[in-house]
């Protein structure tokens, strides 16, 4: 099994932050488009 890079946890955190921001924006677009 390859060694985990020393900044592995930071990488995962960055992926999560990116996903939260972009999915949040996509959700806001969806909600605004479907607002009655």
């Amino acid at each position: 099994m390859p060694d985990v890079p020393h900044n592995g946890a930071y990488m995962v955190a960055a992926y999560i932050v990116t996903a939260v921001i972009l999915l949040g924006y996509a959700l806001s677009l969806y909600r605004r488009a479907n607002k009655p």
Partner: protein, 175 residues
């Protein structure tokens, strides 16, 4: 240079006629891009420090590129606030275009900041006159990411543009 009779004479002179082509499609596109740009800037300003902590040993430093990028983010926020504050569409498009041009002027400074100031950021390793000095695997990863984020940008802007059209149609119905 003043517009024809019946339209207001603007202090912007020639720039006014170039600035506003009286086509709200450009305004919608700019507004959509600004909103997506704000989201992308937020990603950059949050993931950058997460990367910097283990590599540079600090979350944030007030170096030229970081500070200018933060300024660009605030400019995006200001742009969106301005659009929310002006109700009349023509006036909103004009004011927004002026602020948009100010933001555009900032971009070369961000790119060239590593030449102009001493910063923690390295000199360009891809966008430079000689060939990229990046390992092949990293360059491929960078280019794939660039393509994916460009597609994401196009998708978001298309959706946001459609939303603006939908709102305008609803506005006309309620008028």
């Amino acid at each position: 240079m003043c517009p024809p009779p019946g339209r207001r004479c603007s202090p912007w002179g020639w720039w006014d006629s170039a600035l506003i082509v009286k086509d709200l499609r450009f305004d919608r596109f700019a507004a959509a891009s600004a909103e997506v740009g704000t989201a992308f800037s937020l990603v950059m300003l949050t993931t950058g420090p997460i990367w910097a902590k283990p590599i540079w040993g600090t979350w944030w430093t007030w170096d030229a590129r970081l500070t200018l990028t933060l300024f660009l983010f605030f400019l995006f926020i200001g742009y969106l606030l301005l659009r929310g504050a002006v109700v009349e569409p023509g006036l909103r498009a004009r004011y927004s275009a002026v602020l948009g041009i100010c933001g555009l002027v900032l971009l070369p400074f961000i790119h060239l900041s590593v030449y102009l100031f001493r910063t923690l950021h390295p000199q360009p390793i891809v966008l430079k006159p000689s060939s990229p000095s990046l390992p092949g695997s990293m360059l491929v990863t960078l280019l794939v990411s660039f393509a994916v984020f460009t597609l994401l940008y196009v998708g978001f802007v298309t959706q946001r543009y459609a939303l603006a059209l939908q709102r305008e149609a609803q506005g006309r119905e309620h008028a």
